[in-house]
């Protein structure tokens, strides 16, 4: 399968944080949810892909090309939506276009106008009058108006109210039917990915916990609920994380089938959500 993005043994060290030899790849035409708690290394990874910060080691290939030596060619085909607005607040969407469009050889004016209309963004109002959701929509309009083949989205829904979040996700789902486009969507709100992600990469404390197809992950991980008497050394070994209360326990397993075979009818074993997976993996044992 053709890979749009390949990250291999990527490393970046700070005094208080290390992105530790992470690897994952995003096939062409798919949407990857990049999940992890705040401070896990999601933004650092995206900044490294965009060459906004320098890597200490490893390799990043975008469209099969090294992201530093072919930076301009690559960026020509990347659309980006960051967690906050970086466009000039004193300008209108029309003026933003006059600044941004000439940088891209494949800029499409009619597509941009179409997005502004369908996102109900006023063309002649200054950005400073826009709400956070409107600014995110504008970033999305710019990102999708120059024939980008990879769209990087760094926490685009953070800080948005549920209505705006749903709206942004619906827009994304409708727009990203194009099979040439790949999307890396970073978020700590895992429910955002329920309906749109094909792949999930989970990062925690600078390490990749897993990177696989979403359905495979959700088919394998399970949430086990039962009485505390079931918890012995053998059962505990099956769990990634456990939450124990006086009423019983709730635990996450990586192998739902194995847990079912082991516990049979003595416990309830159900599919885990991405939120369950993230919570139990990050927290481990919760008492």
């Amino acid at each position: 399968m053709e890979q749009t993005l390949e990250v291999v043994n990527l490393q970046k060290k700070y005094t208080d944080f290390t992105l530790d030899n992470i690897s994952f790849s995003l096939p062409r035409g798919f949407i990857m949810g990049f999940i992890g708690p705040n401070g896990a290394g999601k933004s650092t990874t995206i900044k490294l892909i965009m060459n906004l910060i320098r890597k200490d080691a490893g390799k990043i290939n975008v469209f099969g090309l090294d992201n530093t030596s072919h930076e301009q060619n690559i960026k020509e085909k990347i659309g980006f939506v960051y967690d906050e607005n970086h466009y000039y607040e004193e300008l209108t969407p029309i003026e933003i276009r006059s600044i941004i469009a000439p940088f891209y050889s494949r800029w499409d004016d009619s597509a941009y106008d179409g997005f502004l209309r369908s996102f109900a963004l006023p063309q002649k109002k200054k950005l400073k009058t826009f709400s956070r959701g409107m600014k995110t929509k504008l970033s999305l309009a710019v990102a999708l108006s120059h024939g980008a083949e990879l769209v990087l989205m760094d926490e685009p829904t953070s800080g948005l109210d549920p209505v705006f979040r749903r709206e942004i996700l619906d827009i994304l789902r409708d727009l990203l039917q194009d099979e040439r486009k790949s999307v890396l969507f970073s978020t700590h709100i895992t429910s955002d990915l329920d309906r749109i992600a094909d792949y999930i990469t989970f990062i925690n404390r600078g390490n990749i916990i897993f990177s696989a197809e979403r359905d495979v992950i959700l088919d394998n991980y399970g949430l086990v609920k039962g009485n505390n008497e079931l918890l012995d050394e053998r059962t505990r070994e099956q769990f990634v994380g456990i939450r124990e209360t006086s009423l019983g326990f709730e635990a996450l397993t990586k192998n739902i089938q194995k847990a079912r075979n082991l516990l049979k009818e003595r416990a309830v074993v159900e599919r885990a959500t991405l939120e369950d997976i993230m919570l139990y993996t990050v927290k481990g044992e919760i008492k």
Binding site: K47, M50, N51, L52, I53, R54, E71, Q72, N73, K75, E76, I78, F80, Y82, E84, N85, H86, Y87, Y88, E89, E90, L91, E95, S98, I99, I100, P102, F103, Y104
Partner: protein
Amino acid sequence: MILLIKKDLLIQKRSFLFLFIYGLFLFVLFNNPVFEEMIYIMGMIIGVYFFLITANMEDEKNKSEILLNSLPVSRSCIVLAKYLSVFVYICIGALFLGMAGLIFQLPVIPVTPRLLKATDLLAVIFLISIAVSIYFPLYFRFGASALRLFSVVFFLFFFFVPRWLFELYLAYEETEALLFLKDIIAQSPLLPAVVVLLTSFLLLTCSFLLSQRIYLRKEF
């Protein structure tokens, strides 16, 4: 490159109005023999300062370095555009102050300043080249906000320098060294222009290379 310069102008449309009004005030406020000779030079220096600082502050206020560095444009190009934009600001300053100076030639206005001369432009190019050669490496290293107070004091210094230099010149006008210099200039009138432009070019080139080195290593 041109796109980045155009961007710096677009984000500060109000600066044009400021420059024109400021030009008009300047001719009224500094309408005296002490400042008359230096009025265009001082005016253009403040004009360039205003455009430059406004563009940089707007970039910083909107955290637009991240935006610019996400576009298909090289970091060297971003740095070079900042240096070249200074010359665009000098041209805008010359145009607006020149126009303001022309308006004051109307017989109904009691104040009549002299007109803009080529030597004014030459002096501005020289002084601004020195100023931005120092300012830009610091800007690319520390950012506009961190340098806010420094840049006000720094450019004010360059605002008053022409006047001090002129006073110095008047004080030592009859000394042997200055007479010798005047003699050389009289024999080859283009020499000062060549020296000024070459020195400016050298300064700016060295400063650009330093800024480029800083910016290429910068992390956002």
